[in-house]
């Protein structure tokens, strides 16, 4: 039986469509590397990839500012920023050698280390925790002790330990004295009363509730409508965003060590730029393809700045006391399944101030303000939906 003309025509059509689709895909990707800051001089630059925890947003403003301002290029680096996703674990991607550096929270990275990931914290960007427990004013929850008998939302997946440590420190049993509720990405459960106190990052979910309309007034919710528990005040805060490097390569590869110093230096410079030019840094993030709105990104830049500045020892320096508190909570706090983040203290190569000290010395020699003692946050007005 021969193929009819119609059949073969149809198959040809499929083949052509397929070819178009495939060339179309590669065509669109050819334009992509522009985002990585490549230039004509890219041949002489050292290629460096940085893995983020999430999509492009102002939580990573410093890195996008450094890219936008050409700080990485000044150090001889061609940096490509790789966005995260729901199931991308930055420290794992770093450990398996797919990227050169990664941004990760300290407790999660310590858990990965315990499972064999060879990674080292080389610069602690956020000095403070950005995790809050937010509740509506009328619930009257201002301290961890007030959570007794309440419906408490948390994201799980290792994001819950500050909360559990706080509840335990207040003399409550997380498994018996509070009702734990698994929380979604959005804050609807809090606003509809399904959860009494919801987990929120100062720079993201807390902004989301302030971008939502209060049905009682027809206006946006304001900070006066909410109480927040700040784990920095409760003494159970854990260190969050840090730059992690590959431990083995630091030990064996002098070039990688030099690159690490350069990368940290340029990144810190980006964060300093974001401190002094919040709006310009926000614009760099939006231009890099952030999908949340402008006011939301500016709020995020400002809140992230508050987690960094003022930085007494200089941005990126790992504070031993804060590290020890993080390790203590990670080792000794049990979640509702009875698991702790880590079972033993991390080895000495879990963090080092060696590279960030070099980077800070170079920045100081250039006359850059690395402590931001006079830092004042700006006032950000959030608009509906963060637009």
């Amino acid at each position: 039986m021969r193929l009819t003309r119609r059949t073969s025509g149809c198959m040809a059509a499929v083949a052509v469509t397929a070819a178009l689709a495939l060339t179309g895909c590669s065509g669109s990707d050819a334009a992509e590397p522009a985002a990585s800051g490549g230039s004509a001089a890219a041949d002489e630059l050292t290629p460096v990839t940085l893995q983020l925890q999430w999509f492009t947003q102002a939580q990573f403003a410093g890195y996008y500012a450094a890219l936008d301002q050409g700080y990485y290029e000044e150090e001889g680096l061609a940096v490509e920023i790789v966005e995260g996703g729901v199931d991308i674990v930055p420290q794992t991607v770093l450990a398996d050698g797919s990227v050169d550096f990664a941004i990760a929270w300290v407790p999660k990275a310590l858990a990965s280390r315990e499972q064999g990931a060879g990674i080292t914290d080389v610069a602690q960007i956020f000095a403070r925790s950005g995790t809050l427990q937010v509740s509506l004013k009328e619930a009257g929850i201002t301290t961890a002790a007030d959570l007794q008998g309440k419906k408490v939302g948390n994201w799980g997946y290792g994001n819950e330990f500050e909360l559990f440590a706080g509840i335990t420190a207040a003399g409550l049993d997380p498994a018996a004295d509070v009702t734990l509720v698994q929380q979604q990405f959005d804050m609807n459960a809090l606003l509809s009363g399904e959860i009494d106190a919801a987990q929120a990052m100062t720079y993201n979910e807390y902004a989301q509730v302030l971008e939502a309309e209060n049905p009682a007034t027809g206006e946006l919710y304001t900070a006066e409508d909410f109480n927040v528990i700040d784990w920095n005040d409760e003494g159970t805060a854990m260190l969050q965003d840090a730059i992690w490097a590959n431990t083995d390569k630091l030990a064996s590869d002098a070039d990688y060590e030099a690159t690490t110093v350069k990368f940290i230096k340029a990144s810190l410079k980006g964060w300093i730029y974001a401190r002094d030019n919040a709006e310009a840094a926000r614009d760099a993030v939006v231009a890099a393809g952030a999908q949340l709105g402008n006011s939301h990104q500016l709020w995020q830049t400002n809140e992230v700045n508050k987690l960094i500045w003022p930085s007494v020892a200089g941005i990126g320096m790992i504070d031993e006391a804060a590290w020890a508190q993080t390790v203590d909570v990670a080792m000794n706090t049990k979640n509702d399944q009875g698991a702790s983040v880590i079972s033993a203290a991390p080895s000495d190569d879990a963090y080092t101030n060696e590279y960030v000290t070099q980077a800070l010395d170079e920045l100081l020699a250039e006359g850059v303000d690395v402590t931001g003692e006079g830092f004042e946050p700006i006032d950000v007005t959030l608009e509906a939906g963060g637009n």
């Binding site: 039986m1 009819t4 119609r6 059949t7 025509g9 149809c10 198959m11 499929v14 469509t17 397929a18 689709a21 495939l22 179309g24 895909c25 590669s26 669109s28 990707d29 992509e32 999430w54 999509f55 966005e83 995260g84 996703g85 729901v86 199931d87 991308i88 674990v89 794992t92 991607v93 398996d96 797919s98 990227v99 990405f185 959005d186 609807n188 606003l191 509809s192 009363g193 399904e194 993201n204 989301q208 509730v209 971008e211 939502a212 309309e213 049905p215 946006l220 939006v286 393809g289 999908q291 949340l292 709105g293 402008n294 006011s295 939301h296 608009e383 509906a384 939906g385 963060g386 637009n387």
Partner: protein
């Protein structure tokens, strides 16, 4: 002689009627949605602490017209931001191409496996359980792994891009129905027909081309359609999982972050994903138009 008017009318009336029914079904869905927001409990329905019914208030279930209005409004206040509808269509176009690439790879792999399994009984008993087993691996476990390998693959000038990992994951879902459907199809000729070919000393290739392949069409077409749907699902899930920029899966997650303050926005992206599945299945139906003469009885 001119063709009978009855025939001409039927030529365009039928597709038009199907389109009208499709539009009506969409309107009916919108009406049910609105009815629920009107009558459903604002706090949602709970049974023994488990959430059964969705919350009906505007933040969880925005009105249909609000979603439509949101689609036409700009994505954000950034200068030059496209409207949500444009961003959604661009994302759908990206995902459609990735899904199509995955579908093609899946069809080729699935058909190849089916031919191998039909030809060699041993291959069937050795491979078939693995084919079934492959679908029990959860996609969210697989996606980061595939992306991880992807970072290390470099063959000549070919640089492995993130979208190729997504297409690979889509093909991983798409090959399954094709392998199963094509195998059943290739095995479907009656014994008498097979024996006739053997009696005529037809070569295996001839038997394949003139008997088994045409006979497999009624089985393969539904399998291809199913594969198109799973390729789209696979591409979307892989995009969500790996955060691949440009696609509808990524857009859904990005918009979902604005769900509390801008509830209509994520729904716009979800509508886009649904449309994408329809378009993909529709494209495969187009493909089957040319194969009408082999489709006396379709099996799904």
């Amino acid at each position: 002689m001119t063709p009978a008017p009855e025939r001409v009318r039927r030529g365009w009336v039928r597709p038009l009627r199907r389109l009208a029914v499709g539009v009506l079904a969409g309107l009916a869905a919108a009406a049910i949605w609105e009815l629920y927001t009107l009558l459903g409990p604002d706090a949602g329905g709970h049974l023994f602490g488990a959430s059964l019914l969705p919350r009906a208030e505007a933040r969880s279930m925005p009105h249909v017209w609000d979603v439509v209005a949101r689609m036409l409004a700009p994505e954000s206040s950034a200068t030059g931001a496209p409207s949500v509808a444009v961003a959604m269509l661009q994302a759908c176009w990206f995902t459609l191409r990735v899904a199509l690439a995955g579908w093609l790879a899946g069809v080729v792999a699935g058909f190849g496996l089916a031919i191998g399994m039909q030809r060699f009984r041993l291959a069937e008993s050795a491979v078939f359980p693995w084919v079934v087993l492959s679908q029990t691996v959860p996609l969210i476990a697989l996606a980061p792994l595939v992306v991880g390998w992807g970072g290390k693959i470099q063959v000549g000038d070919l640089v492995w891009e993130r979208w190729m990992s997504v297409a690979l994951i889509a093909s991983y879902l798409a090959f399954f129905p094709v392998a199963v459907g094509a195998l059943r199809g290739l095995q479907s000729p009656e014994q008498a027909h097979v024996e006739l070919f053997r009696a005529q000393a037809a070569s295996p290739w001839r038997t394949f081309r003139s008997l088994r392949l045409p006979a497999s069409v009624p089985y393969v077409i539904p399998a291809l359609r199913l594969a198109a749907a799973t390729a789209v699902v696979g591409a979307i899930v892989a995009e969500v999982s790996t955060g691949t920029k440009g696609g509808i899966g990524r857009l859904i997650i990005a918009y979902a972050q604005a769900a509390s303050g801008d509830p209509a926005k994520p729904w716009a992206a979800i509508v886009g994903a649904a449309l994408l599945g329809l378009v993909a299945a529709g494209l495969v139906s187009l493909l089957s138009l040319g194969l009408g003469r082999y489709r006396h009885s379709e099996v799904s």
